[in-house]
């Protein structure tokens, strides 16, 4: 068992939060002295940057938790909401909600959740029906469902008004936190935190799912009921986040693997580590998205770019170890 301390990660996260609060397109990096005498800057930090930082933390932590839970339950380190088609399904549902009810967020969240749950149930059933069940069957089912909902998403995009709705849908699909404010925090954060807290409390039970069915049976754990409960919460967490942030890819895939590499496979450590690393990853990416150039860079592009780089490093690291 690795004994990496979580303290440096907490410290890094804290430093990053302070740094992200003090840097922006307006006046670049500001010092405390400048901050104290510029009331507009104070307003910007409180009303624009802080809610965005809070949502970055929630998005990063939530997607990472969802990813590590799915990877553990499915005993597959490639399983994440994106690979299993849940993200695409939620994307389709949210886009449909966006098309039908453009001014309110609740139908968008609801449509995203329903689509995500449908996707999960279909993937699980499909994977079971594939002969020679192995870890790949889940991935195959995920690819099929993902393609199905991507096609649905294509239809929604085709029907959207190209000047009003389509740019918003396209930008949303690329992932963005540019519309963050405190009302969005109130709508997204509480439910996400509750989901994360439940999964955190269940981390002991989730740990058990990495064991074989016969061991679980001997421990008296009813795999089916608990798995559906845990996966349902994961899907709710993912869709709540995605309905606001859009498709922010790679977080649920990369972060759990990094966390396990640094803190081991025990969920008691890797789950809180995933929360911290996910928050750092998305906060760092979003800070680049809003600061790097005059225009907003879609968050999903940055997480995909950084995620792919980390993925390559992880693969090479595994090869050299082998």
């Amino acid at each position: 068992m690795k004994k990496t301390s979580v303290l440096p990660v907490v410290l890094l996260l804290f430093i990053l939060i302070v740094f992200a609060s003090l840097i922006g397109r307006y006046q670049g990096f500001v010092t405390y002295k400048e901050l104290s005498r510029n009331s507009l800057l104070q307003q910007l930090i409180v009303m624009v940057r802080l809610p965005r930082i809070v949502l970055s933390l929630v998005v990063g932590a939530g997607l990472a938790v969802s990813g590590i839970v799915m990877q553990t339950v499915f005993q597959n380190s490639l399983a994440d909401p994106g690979i299993l088609g849940i993200s695409q399904a939620a994307g389709f549902g949210a886009s449909l909600g966006f098309l039908l009810f453009p001014t309110t967020r609740i139908p968008i969240q609801l449509f995203a959740f329903i689509s995500g749950m449908i996707s999960l149930v279909v993937v699980l059933r499909l994977a079971r029906r594939i002969e020679n069940q192995n870890r790949l069957s889940l991935i195959f089912a995920g690819i099929a469902i993902s393609a199905f909902f991507s096609a649905g998403l294509g239809i929604v995009k085709y029907l959207a008004d190209p000047l009003d709705q389509l740019p918003s849908i396209v930008f949303w699909l690329l992932g963005s936190l540019s519309t963050s404010d405190w009302s969005a925090v109130v709508q997204i954060a509480p439910l996400s935190i509750v989901c994360m807290a439940i999964l955190y409390l269940l981390r002991w039970r989730i740990n058990a799912y990495s064991l074989s069915d016969s061991v679980l049976y001997s421990l008296g754990i009813d795999r089916n009921i608990e798995i559906y409960l845990i996966l349902g919460i994961s899907v709710l967490l993912t869709t709540t986040i995605i309905s606001f942030s859009g498709l922010v890819g790679w977080v649920g895939l990369i972060v759990p693997n990094v966390a396990r590499l640094a803190f081991g496979y025990d969920m008691r450590k890797s789950l809180p580590a995933s929360i911290l690393i996910g928050a750092i990853f998305v906060l760092f990416s979003d800070t680049l998205a809003r600061v790097l150039i005059a225009g907003e860079i879609p968050l999903g592009i940055i997480t995909a770019f950084l995620g792919a780089l980390i993925f390559i490093v992880l693969i090479l690291n595994n090869r050299s170890r082998a």
């Binding site: 307006y26 910007l44 519309t179």
Partner: protein, 356 residues
């Protein structure tokens, strides 16, 4: 023998006249389109389809010519519909056939058009297909002021009304020159921001136009400094955040909204804490970019009204509300032939909260 000679001469003459009339027919109309390529028609097109992107704006240009109501067979259905406006000019407009959005060569062929008017950006997507099935697309661009003049002449040739195309161009040139002349001695170069604001899930998304677009060129032509120009070299609308807007330090922000909600957007912005502080600390002005049936900032016949509006916002003491209102009336009366009562009732009334 004499009879045979006369008959021979008659036959030769008939043959020659047939050749001449054929050759005349073959080259009855030759149009150099926006790509500079020649498109020939044996007779003037009488069945015309307007297809591809931005068809409402194209249709508005086409309907500057009186012949359009008879010659237009179908118009592709796109966002920012101009149906409401064109129904004022052509009461039969609602009965015109509309093409579904994204119609391909097959659907367009069904109308058996003599020509299809397309934006240059549609060549790869649909224009080449139309050529393949034997239809003759004519490309127009309308993206800069010079292109607008050139493309109005192209439409004049297609619709066989070159005089009207010159009337339109003269109207544009005269009014633009008048505005430029009136502002000749105005030296204040304001830092201008043209900002498109759209509402998404009760949040605002801010975008600025590309550096090469008509909107940016108009601000520069009028001596304003488009503060976003150096940062917006990409080809489309660029989304920006509030911090970037503040960092540009504009003196005046002209708010564009393609649903005609600019005054409402400005009202909501002033209620926002950050915007409120930004506006009061920087003393910037927020102006709604005028919108009647379409926003005036676009490559549309109304561009001259957009040009005059920017001039009015930058120099309200020189280009007054009366001058701007007068131009609006002249534009709809002289170019579209609308009567003055209709202009006052249907158009000026829509603009009162925007240009005063």
């Amino acid at each position: 023998m004499a009879k045979k000679i006369v008959l021979f001469i008659i036959v030769v003459l008939l043959f020659l006249s047939a050749c001449v009339s054929n050759s005349l027919q073959d080259t009855a109309i030759v149009i150099n389109d926006a790509f500079g390529q020649e498109v020939s028609f044996s007779k003037a097109p009488t069945h015309i389809v307007v297809a591809g992107k931005q068809t409402p704006m194209l249709a508005n240009f086409v309907y500057l010519f009186n012949e359009s109501s008879e010659k237009i067979s179908a118009i592709e259905n796109r966002s920012q519909s101009s149906n409401q406006f064109l129904s004022l000019i052509d009461p039969s407009f609602p009965e015109k056939l509309t093409l579904e959005k994204g119609a391909g060569a097959e659907q367009i062929s069904a109308f058996e058009p003599d020509t299809v008017i397309l934006k240059t950006t549609m060549k790869e997507q649909i224009g080449n297909q139309l050529n393949d099935v034997g239809l003759k697309p004519v490309y127009v661009s309308f993206e800069t002021i010079d292109e607008i003049y050139r493309d109005v002449r192209i439409l004049g040739k297609i619709l066989e009304d070159r005089d009207k195309s010159e009337v339109i161009i003269n109207f544009y040139e005269n009014n633009k020159n008048t505005i430029d002349l009136m502002l000749k001695d105005s030296q204040i170069a304001s830092r201008v921001l043209l900002l498109q604001i759209s509402e998404s899930e009760n949040n605002y998304v801010y975008s600025v136009p590309s550096a090469s677009w008509l909107q940016t060129l108009m601000v520069e032509e009028l001596g304003g400094e488009p503060v976003w120009k150096n940062d917006a070299s990409a080809g489309g609308w660029m989304e920006v955040n509030i911090e970037q807007i503040i960092d540009w330090q504009p003196d005046i922000i002209m708010v564009i909204n393609y649903q005609g909600q600019s005054p409402e957007m400005i009202r909501k912005l002033t209620e926002d804490a950050v915007w409120n502080q930004f506006i009061s600390s920087s003393e910037i002005e927020l102006k709604p970019f005028p919108y009647d049936f379409q926003s005036w900032d676009q490559p549309d016949p109304r561009w001259i009204l957009g040009y005059a509006s920017i001039a009015h916002f930058l120099h309200p003491d020189v280009i007054t509300v009366d001058i701007l209102s007068g131009l609006v009336i002249d534009f709809y009366h002289e170019l579209y032939g609308l009567d003055l009562n209709m202009i006052n009732d249907e158009i000026i009334s829509l603009l009162q909260s925007q240009i005063e």
